[in-house]
Symmetry: C2
Subunit: 307 residues, 2 copies
């Protein structure tokens, strides 16, 4: 960040639309990003797990990021995922993103080799910081052990904060374990921005000193989640939390990435949105009908989606 004030609020890990040949559909992508920002997202965590980013090449991610900036989106609201298995890929993506002026880089640890030591992961982040060599770099560690298998320990955060206090800006905690989020909030306080990995614990995260959430369902329900974030100190905060929790729980009965794409496809009338890169598979017809029924029961719509 150039302003000194770091990004906060509700960020969506933006889903990535594909053409029939599985190339990214750039136009649709930019339009969805603009819709998200116009409808409640404070920022965009493009190239997260829910973006199928790990199914995209380095070049595809760079091309899409450039398309967003060229399309008029302020890079200061962007937090692209740049963490890959290969050190060289992470350095390349991160350098590129920082040069474009993004708010920060959401960075998975290298996740192929399992059970790395904290020292090994520290060296990995340190190498990226040194090789990128740009004072503007702000890293948001990406802790998602259920998928990456390789996680971020409190000890590692402490090592990074000590060596690189400016670059180590925060974390997305997608452990699904409130006790872990809570422990980070208590251990690191002001110097380190904790984003909850979903909105189920958004209010608890804010009350504990966190700064927001980065959530899959931000792709389809950004308004109410942002409203909760904005009003977390108000009397209605608990009831706002209950409402977004109810929505989230309805959606997460289904595999998340196809559920998000199916929702956008259905409510925008564009079935091509359902296209996934393998190994992901779409919902069955039964799942799709059940998902849409859950959403309609809640009066859900997506006004002027991707218009």
């Amino acid at each position: 960040m150039n302003t000194g004030k770091r990004i906060e609020g509700v960020l969506a890990p933006v889903i990535t639309p594909f053409n029939a040949d599985m190339s990214p559909n750039v136009e649709k992508y930019v339009a969805h990003c603009k819709w998200l920002l116009a409808n409640g997202c404070d920022g965009l965590a493009v190239f997260g797990t829910n973006s199928e980013a790990n199914s995209l090449s380095v070049e595809e991610r760079m091309m899409l990021l450039e398309a967003l900036v060229d399309g008029g989106i302020d890079p200061a609201v962007l937090m692209p995922g740049t963490g890959c298995c290969a050190l060289t890929d992470t350095v390349k993506l991160t350098s590129h993103a920082v040069k474009l002026g993004v708010a920060g880089a959401m960075m998975l640890p290298p996740f192929y080799y399992k059970n790395p030591s904290d020292e090994g992961l520290f060296r990995s982040y340190a190498e990226v910081i040194e090789k990128v060599g740009d004072d503007r770099l702000r890293i948001y560690l990406y802790h998602i052990p259920p998928v990456a298998q390789v996680g971020i320990s409190l000890n590692l955060i402490e090592m990074l904060l000590k060596a690189y206090p400016k670059q180590t800006a925060g974390i997305k905690d997608s452990s699904g374990d409130w006790n872990n989020t809570d422990a980070m909030l208590k251990a690191f306080k002001e110097d380190f921005d904790v984003f909850a990995g979903n909105e189920l614990i958004l209010l608890a995260n804010m009350r504990g000193g966190g700064v927001g959430c980065i959530t899959a369902t931000g792709n389809i329900n950004p308004g109410p989640i942002h409203h909760l974030w904005e009003n977390w100190k108000s009397d209605e905060a608990d009831s706002l939390q209950a409402s977004v929790t109810d929505f989230r729980k309805a959606v997460q009965q289904f595999p998340m990435i196809p559920a998000l794409k199916t929702t956008v496809a259905h409510f925008s009338g564009d079935p091509a949105w359902k296209t996934l890169r393998p190994p992901l598979m779409g919902l069955s017809a039964e799942q799709e009908a059940a998902l849409i029924a859950e959403l309609e029961k809640r009066g859900f719509n997506m006004p002027a989606l991707a218009a």
Copy 2:
């Protein structure tokens, strides 16, 4: 393969030497590959797990593969690893390798998204085959669930053999579970070449109808392993197996990749060989001394290594 006869024997997943700045040392790499072929390896499974291939970018792998061919190594002995998380990366690496005339591509499934369905993995391999679109492509599925977490089931092999009998050439089974190797040998017979993932089960694999092994310790002990492979029908086979088993067990007391690099560094007198890309870390001084003692106890040397 162009000859109709597929690659077999003992293959090493070649370790990758790095310079101090962590770029690959091309000269040292080509020299080590030539040493392996001169000292017992029947082929080179470059860019395997033990090659730190998942810490290399697509461009680095292509550059190294070209350096081997330019350096005079027959591409028909090469089985490069080409399976990445991203479909586009796997297609690019595989196309490049096939065009160079390699024996086959050792292909991890996309391994970021966990618990994919067999149908999703089938679609992934099918997309690669269709997009590469080259009749010479031979795929060796890479089953290494302890690391990749995403594995290759018998059902998936059956689906692939049915749809793509020519391209589905075989498997490297690094499950570490003989029952799994045995089940594959019994299920698929002639049409499908089973490489054991290490030499501990090389003799059993050959007796069961397999074609060889792709093994980490092939980097340092290729001669005796090849000798066992060549003489698996002989009376001395069990004692040859016992000997390579003893060697392997001595080495695998230590973390494998740093152990291999430390061995080459020590016996070639070139400490730079110990350099690893993070998140991997080197052996401690105690581990290094213990490893070298184990090797010396066995009269180990590496004649004219990387000369």
